[in-house]
Symmetry: none
Amino acid sequence: MDHRITSSTKDEALVKKRLNQLQKGAVQLFKQKGFHRATTREIAKAAGFSIGTLYEYIRKKEDVLFLVCDAVHDEVKTRMENVIDRNSTSEEALRQAVFAYFQIMDEMQDEVLILYQELKALPKEEQEYVMQKEREMVGILERVISNSYANVLDEKNVKLVANNVYVQGQMWGFRRWLIQKEFTLQEYMEMQYQLLKSQLAFQAT
Amino acid sequence: MDHRITSSTKDEALVKKRLNQLQKGAVQLFKQKGFHRATTREIAKAAGFSIGTLYEYIRKKEDVLFLVCDAVHDEVKTRMENVIDRNSTSEEALRQAVFAYFQIMDEMQDEVLILYQELKALPKEEQEYVMQKEREMVGILERVISNSYANVLDEKNVKLVANNVYVQGQMWGFRRWLIQKEFTLQEYMEMQYQLLKSQLAFQAT
Amino acid sequence: MDHRITSSTKDEALVKKRLNQLQKGAVQLFKQKGFHRATTREIAKAAGFSIGTLYEYIRKKEDVLFLVCDAVHDEVKTRMENVIDRNSTSEEALRQAVFAYFQIMDEMQDEVLILYQELKALPKEEQEYVMQKEREMVGILERVISNSYANVLDEKNVKLVANNVYVQGQMWGFRRWLIQKEFTLQEYMEMQYQLLKSQLAFQAT
Amino acid sequence: MDHRITSSTKDEALVKKRLNQLQKGAVQLFKQKGFHRATTREIAKAAGFSIGTLYEYIRKKEDVLFLVCDAVHDEVKTRMENVIDRNSTSEEALRQAVFAYFQIMDEMQDEVLILYQELKALPKEEQEYVMQKEREMVGILERVISNSYANVLDEKNVKLVANNVYVQGQMWGFRRWLIQKEFTLQEYMEMQYQLLKSQLAFQAT
DNA sequence: GATGAATGAGGCTTCATTCAT
DNA sequence: AATGAATGAAGCCTCATTCAT
């Protein structure tokens, strides 16, 4: 699944299956207790196998966290790419992408929370890797925005706006104790999108 | 300093001094290693006293984290309040407040990072307390925005915009690996402020 | 190969082959890492088959050690017996035997090292068995000495001298870090033999 | 006590006391189970304190082994030096030293056994250190022999003979299952000494 | 009030052994 | 007969917390 984690098992299909079990279980667990409070035994149990088997597929507890982070990004990215119409330059395309992104962030808020809070528990090198994935994600938003409003925004503004949108999506889950008390997802999406449009419209004048 | 931490010591002045040492040392330490990786021995050492003494002033390791979180918020709040002109309703007042806020977030980025990442390491009750402080901070921004643009924005929009600004300030430090690679602080402040204004201006039309 | 190890396999030829593979591989491995640090997986790999197969031929990890110890002794004994002229009583026969013994100890120093250091890792009963083999080896030397100098030495002296020679042979490999720094094998053999002769000669006076 | 082991405790006298307890307890324990089979918990218990305290004075389990090896050598050396008359060149002085050495080896046979069998469990660097101590011990014997028979033996012969005596002393304990079945300590000492003298006498002719 | 030695629960990880295929 | 995935007991070590001085 990922070259960074060397498992002693040889059967590729099995490895994939096990790592998938592991990642699924770990997300549920980390959601409740966070990475640090979760013990390796609990991780194994959540994945549905024994502690011994766990260590057939990972080398260190941290590897599980990395697995989760990696999987989250991959899923977000895949889902975004399925939804984005790369050829369209219409405003509608932007709306569609932004709404889809917020929707995904809503569905994956637990995963995103983990990613946010535990990143620094990873070794430096793996942190870098995860950050790179974040850059790619922001890059996707940049492209969408830039496709829709290429004429009105300079590159730097696009970067900033994309980053803002990206963060706003994450904050929906991350600051749910505040935001979800005040807004429904519909409202949040709609309002943020209106604000976004007003920025773009204004720059265009 | 805070009623939640009961120290067996009585001399108020000394307690204050010690807790201050503690908080200062802890921030430096958590900055480097994070809360979980820092041991109580290291915390004591960073504070300049022994492990035994540490436990004269706290009851659990978590108390130190709480202390730090609390202190960070207090400092941000104090500095913001010193800068804000509560009576002014001019656009200039908004600009001043936003710039000041970003400036503070820049200076305290390490502290804010800690606060962000370690919040869930606190017990539920203390989490609530810290969240409450966050709400207050957002509230301050709300008031400033609302004072300047009361006529053009409904309450809910103000809430959202204030929250966005608040998060953008934190992200300057939190996502420094991305943002600070692309923008200087000046640029970031200026551009975010322009975007903010365009939102407000647009709503006003 | 040895009745102490019951393998579930029946084909005698195959068992022999496998146990031989196993013993050869294990010596190489133990040489590097010692018995305790070598894992059963590594042992299986060194033998050229899987962990599952390993356990078709042994029951416990210790069995491998026993196998090695046993094989070492057998080889030393066989080689000694090939070289010794049981009928000769001349001094030359002694010289020949002693030199041959030292030569063998030189060639098998790694194996002897293992035997020396890991003996107590065996269960008591197997220890006894190995010790018995040691006694036999010393016995061979006793006979050679006694054949050559029967008239001058009482039985007890022969026992002691034989034991000394036996140990000196082992020490060539076991204390190589000291002895092999100071002497070449030729020198060591020659000098030890001279000392041996002087003992015998003196007793004869 | 030894710079190689860094204990977190500051009080020098206490450290010395604890390390002494530790070493004493460990010898008893290793005697029974060997180093590998002894758990850190058992080591702590044998030393009379908790596992936590154990790790206030050592960093790794291996350190305990090193401590033991070191202490054994130190004790042997000290006792030898107390007994040796450095000025005497008489044959009597040699006899005295050799007998004393065998006596010590008899009394410390368990310790010596440990040293012999577990040396390779130490990290390379520590092995070197222990070997150096062995060299010193052999050196002491060399000096005694050379003092008594300086005129008859060349340096290389002295080295060899000293090494032989040294090993013979250790073997009394190490091969007790063989030697102590056949000889009393008195006999062993006496006979080995006679052999030694015959070597020296013969060279002198 | 301050100190730091002592404690032991509990975490991570390894690895001998088994067993279904 | 051979394989290698699965198991879980058990080992090493850390570190938050206590308490006697």
